[in-house]
């Protein structure tokens, strides 16, 4: 789960009244603040900070899953090493580069589709009609269903012999023979994207809907009086106004998509045609027990996501600066 879209850096607390600063009460409050923060910071250090440092360290060792303490330091050998006339290591592994490509392809395509359909659903939910609350609740259902369960539900619907999707497509005469959705190299990536898009449209739609509901009514009234076409109004007025919220949704979805694991693992297991960076790293770590090499892959993934985060924070700051 990611932090919900809160834009950029936190706001400043309102300034305190004069004369309050430096008093005994204030010192007591600051001390209490750190006391209250300590358990949370300790917990985060234990489950996030320290393990991350260990992962970095492991990526420079030959650690194996059964014995992580007696690992030898081997420098960059997990990443890249020249040995006996040939290059070895993560950066020369075609399967790794395939999984990098798969991750990027999956992220860009699924997030783009989610944004387009998310906006359409949000516009729909923003319209006035009877039973709006019911529809809004129904649209939330895919979001609440565990990823594993939605992957299994879709795997059943996409089943090559008995699946309802092949059945429908054949009944409509669109295809002649059943498509092996999850097994074929051509279709499996699209099957995965289809499931992910289905599951995450609600998240994007809700963020966009929240932005839509904050829009001022008067410019729409003005546009209507002037007889401007609704499509033009959408592209000229609505879209620019919801862009900040859209940007937040895109970044959060993108960061989520870059670390995708469960939906792909359940739908297509370790098949190379859909393998992502997370799946590659876990396979090396757990199934091949090669903690050193797997950690190198994890570190690469972390660096890619960290880069995306830094860009986001930078843009978020700038965005705030422009608004104020």
């Amino acid at each position: 789960m990611s932090i919900p879209a809160t834009e950029g850096a936190p706001q400043e607390v309102r300034p305190r009244q004069a004369g309050y600063r430096g008093t005994k009460v204030r010192r007591q409050r600051v001390r209490a603040a750190w006391t209250f923060l300590a358990p949370m910071l300790f917990a985060l250090a234990l489950v996030a900070g320290w393990p991350l440092l260990r992962t970095f360290y492991f990526s420079f060792t030959d650690a194996s899953l059964s014995d992580t303490t007696g690992a030898l330091f081997i420098g960059f050998e997990n990443y890249l090493v020249y040995d006996d006339g040939a290059w070895y290591g993560l950066l020369t592994d075609p399967v790794w580069w395939r999984s990098v490509w798969n991750t990027l392809f999956f992220s860009v395509v699924s997030v783009s589709l989610e944004v387009v359909f998310g906006i359409i659903v949000a516009l729909l939910l923003n319209a006035e009609f009877k039973g709006r609350m019911l529809v809004r609740a129904a649209v939330l259902i895919p979001w609440a269903i565990p990823t594993i369960v939605s992957a299994k539900m879709w795997a059943w619907m996409l089943n090559d012999q008995f699946g309802i999707i092949n059945h429908l497509l054949m009944a409509l005469g669109i295809i002649d023979s059943p498509i092996p959705w999850t097994a074929s190299a051509t279709y499996s990536m699209w099957a995965v994207i289809m499931v992910d898009v289905w599951k995450t449209i609600p998240f994007v739609a809700l963020l966009v809907l929240a932005a839509l509901q904050m829009l001022p009514k008067d410019c729409y009234e003005a546009a209507e009086v002037d007889g401007i076409h609704p499509v033009k109004v959408f592209f000229r007025v609505t879209l620019p106004l919801i862009t900040p919220a859209l940007l937040v949704a895109v970044i959060f979805r993108l960061l989520d998509a870059l670390r995708v694991f469960d939906v792909i693992y359940v739908l297509t297991s370790n098949s190379t045609s859909t393998m992502t960076m997370s799946i590659y790293a876990r396979q090396q770590l757990v199934e091949f027990q090669d903690v050193g090499y797997g950690s190198a892959a994890s570190t690469m993934l972390f660096l890619i996501i960290a880069l995306a985060t830094v860009i986001y924070l930078y843009l978020g700051r700038r965005q705030l600066g422009v608004d104020q």
Binding site: I3, A32, P146, I148, V149, M157, A210, V286, I305
Partner: protein
């Protein structure tokens, strides 16, 4: 009927048609899982769009399986403990971050934001070592510990946003009366924070209930697994003989509580998910 009314009517019909499409798209996979789970295995491979039978064999089969019942219990224990810990640590931390001005506050907030962006797989090997050294491998305790990595940052962040919106006067009155910060939290803020805590608690519960990667990696035996892993590992004789009936029954069983929660707390969930998104 004049032309204007006709256009208006057409627009109305178009709107409702589109809504119907979206509804079917959102609900159909779950609906199809429900009707599949209620079929006897002999009829499983015939495609039906409507409920054709009311056969509970699949449900009987999964509920008489000890490991599945055990997995449900594990999931409940893990999710509730995670929510409890996240709220306990979150409410105190959010008081510090939301109400007190001190040096390093922004840094702490940035650290929290950063942790929430961690790819889980990046801490997998390090966390594996921590869990094994604490003797929590293949134990729900290990999952409770590891789930704080994604529930805690989120909880702290949202609670801080809510905490900040509470009026200053309340706290000033408490300070005038000589209340310590701890008393201020428990007596003044806690009663006002219940709605926010319900929202974040609910979101943390759903996240913990659905988690897969850690649960798959940090548990080994059937008796220690959580439901998502149990469902993912249900298998038949071979890849092409998956027991779809029981898989769908299990899927429906773990999803129904979530769907009910979403229906009841729809507003809260939406406000939690979008907290701060449009306020800037």
């Amino acid at each position: 009927m004049n032309q204007y009314q006709l256009i208006k009517l057409a627009k109305r019909v178009g709107l409702y048609a589109l809504i119907a499409v979206v509804m079917v798209y959102a609900i159909f996979p779950f609906y199809y899982a429900v009707i599949t789970s209620l079929k006897p295995s002999s009829e499983l491979f015939r495609v039906d769009f409507w409920l054709s039978s009311l056969d509970f064999t699949n449900y009987v089969q999964i509920f008489t399986q000890k490991s599945f019942v055990r997995a449900i219990v594990n999931s409940i224990v893990v999710s509730l403990s995670v929510v409890f810990i996240a709220l306990l640590l979150g409410i105190t931390a959010s008081y510090a971050l939301g109400r007190v001005r001190f040096r390093g506050r922004t840094t702490v907030m940035l650290v929290i934001l950063g942790v929430s962006m961690f790819p889980q797989v990046a801490v997998l090997s390090g966390l594996f070592e921590v869990i094994r050294s604490l003797n929590l491998y293949n134990n729900p305790g290990g999952l409770i510990l590891s789930y704080t990595i994604f529930t805690l940052p989120f909880t702290v962040w949202v609670l801080t946003t809510f905490m900040r919106q509470l009026p200053m006067e309340l706290e000033e009155a408490a300070i005038m009366d000589g209340a310590t910060p701890w008393v201020t939290i428990t007596k003044v803020f806690l009663p006002l924070m219940w709605p926010a805590m319900a929202t974040t608690g609910l979101l943390a519960f759903i996240a913990a209930w659905n988690e897969f990667l850690f649960a798959l990696t940090f548990t080994l035996t059937d008796s220690q697994r959580t439901v998502p892993v149990a469902i993912a590992l249900i298998s038949g004789g071979s890849q092409h003989e998956l027991p779809w009936g029981p898989i769908m029954a299990a899927s429906v069983t773990v999803t129904v509580p979530l769907v009910v929660l979403v229906m009841i707390f729809q507003r809260r969930i939406v406000s939690g998910l979008t907290a701060g998104a449009v306020k800037g």
